[in-house]
Symmetry: C2
Subunit: 272 residues, 2 copies
């Protein structure tokens, strides 16, 4: 093996390949210290496209001196058989799980491509509506709009409200608005009156002052807004207000937007 090169890993699918990539990255994160170069091969749904992918496998094998890994979700077993002529480690998610599911459910699967993100179901329409909602209600919204939200994220400027509310809308179809806590709220030392009627759907976000300071410095270097002292004061004030009002809050410091979004979903579900 040529140690200077990275090992190739291919995410192959006759659909978008997003499932293969998501699981593949989860699996690879368990193997520290090994570098991979990742390649996506979506929509591999014909012998021609399979041939392209096979050529890449051979090339990568020769270049790296070691066979590539192939993580796939293939609905079409014929295309899958073609690919398997090459020397690689093939892990096919659908292959492994479709058979036990067919047995358990007592029916055959459709083996149809492109259903994962199907547009026909109401879940999809719901997600698109939620995304529009999140965009339209980013950073300060009217009371009328807050009424229609499933969740309202509050916190200081740049603590992560926007990406978290977008993720909530995109992944879970939740209509998430967000509402920044600003210096005049801190002076009054209480939550804006607009928010109080919606206390039961408020979720707070917080973050370590040092991390907030770094994020704000990128946006407005050397400003008062970005100063560590300002970040410290704002966060302390925001947490105090949320504590007083009994608002649950989540710390973005060492957690990703995905993790926080799932925690917020858990809170929402518990209330329902």
């Amino acid at each position: 093996m040529n140690n200077s090169s990275k090992r190739a890993i291919l995410f192959v699918s006759d659909g978008t390949g997003i499932t293969a990539e998501t699981l593949g990255k989860g699996l690879l994160s368990q193997f520290e210290g090994i570098s991979f170069r990742q390649m996506r091969f979506p929509f591999v749904d014909s012998p021609d496209k399979a041939a392209e992918c096979m050529k890449f496998i051979r090339k990568a094998h020769a270049q790296d001196g070691i066979r590539p890994l192939v993580i796939m979700t293939m609905m079409n077993p014929q295309i899958s058989t073609l690919l398997r002529q090459e020397d690689a480690l093939f892990l096919d998610l659908f292959e492994v799980f479709i058979a036990p599911l067919e047995k358990e459910l007592g029916v055959c699967s459709a083996h149809a491509v492109g259903r994962t993100h199907g547009k026909t179901n109401s879940e999809y329409a719901n997600r698109i509506a939620a995304i529009s909602f999140a965009i339209a209600h980013d950073d300060g919204v009217s009371a009328a709009d807050l009424k229609n939200a499933d969740a309202i994220l509050i916190g200081v400027s740049r603590c992560g409200k926007t990406p978290t509310s977008l993720y909530l809308s995109m992944q879970f179809g939740v209509r998430a608005a967000n509402y920044p806590l600003i210096p005049e709220d801190f002076e009054r030392d209480r939550l804006p009156d607009t928010l109080l009627p919606f206390r039961n759907k408020l979720y707070g976000l917080t973050i370590a002052p040092e991390q907030l300071c770094r994020i704000r410095q990128e946006r407005r270097p050397d400003s008062d807004y970005a100063a560590l002292e300002t970040c410290r004061k704002e966060i302390a004030a925001a947490e105090r207000m949320m504590r007083l009002e009994g608002i649950v809050w989540f710390d973005m410091t060492s957690r990703s937007i995905e993790e926080i979004a799932v925690q917020i979903m858990q809170s929402i579900n518990k209330k329902q």
Copy 2:
């Protein structure tokens, strides 16, 4: 089996459970005509939380008259063993794939929870930056901003630019701006001058007039803007302009934002 009820399917993980849910939904989409009620159990990382989940499995089994399906990603084998005391069909994504990967890579996996969406890597930072970019550059941006975009989506109002650019940023870390084509562009019958220097990173979106009409009707019922005739004219004009300038475009009519986003990624990669 009680036919009036839906069969329970649980997405269980000691992490966010997003991987289990993504794959699980992909698998279930292959079984038409069977209704499932889906439940998420994220962060099942202690015997207490496992016990909660086990209680739910028993309850669902009794209620449905048939054992539930459990799709899981469990890093901690001890928690997994606890769950498996219950009667359900367990499909554990990590269990099935970690062993062959360990063998292939010649190392042991970390069996550590919460690495999938790790915050420490530059990929995460890149995604967050791209999301901010997409939000800041939604619907009409300055020429200076267009320069910094990886991709600029163009198309008529409400054809799907916003959710697609957000998905591109969130899933792939692409800095996607979007730029609406508006009636005055159609009158001039050419792309706005602002866009022309960036021809190589323009991607068009289009949609069937009937579908656009439905979407616009929801937004502004009985307006000129939403009239089928307007939709037809705008789409024809937009497609003509894109054809003249040699801009690749994608049809949102029967494809999801995920599918279109992956196709745009393929175009971006080919150019690089």
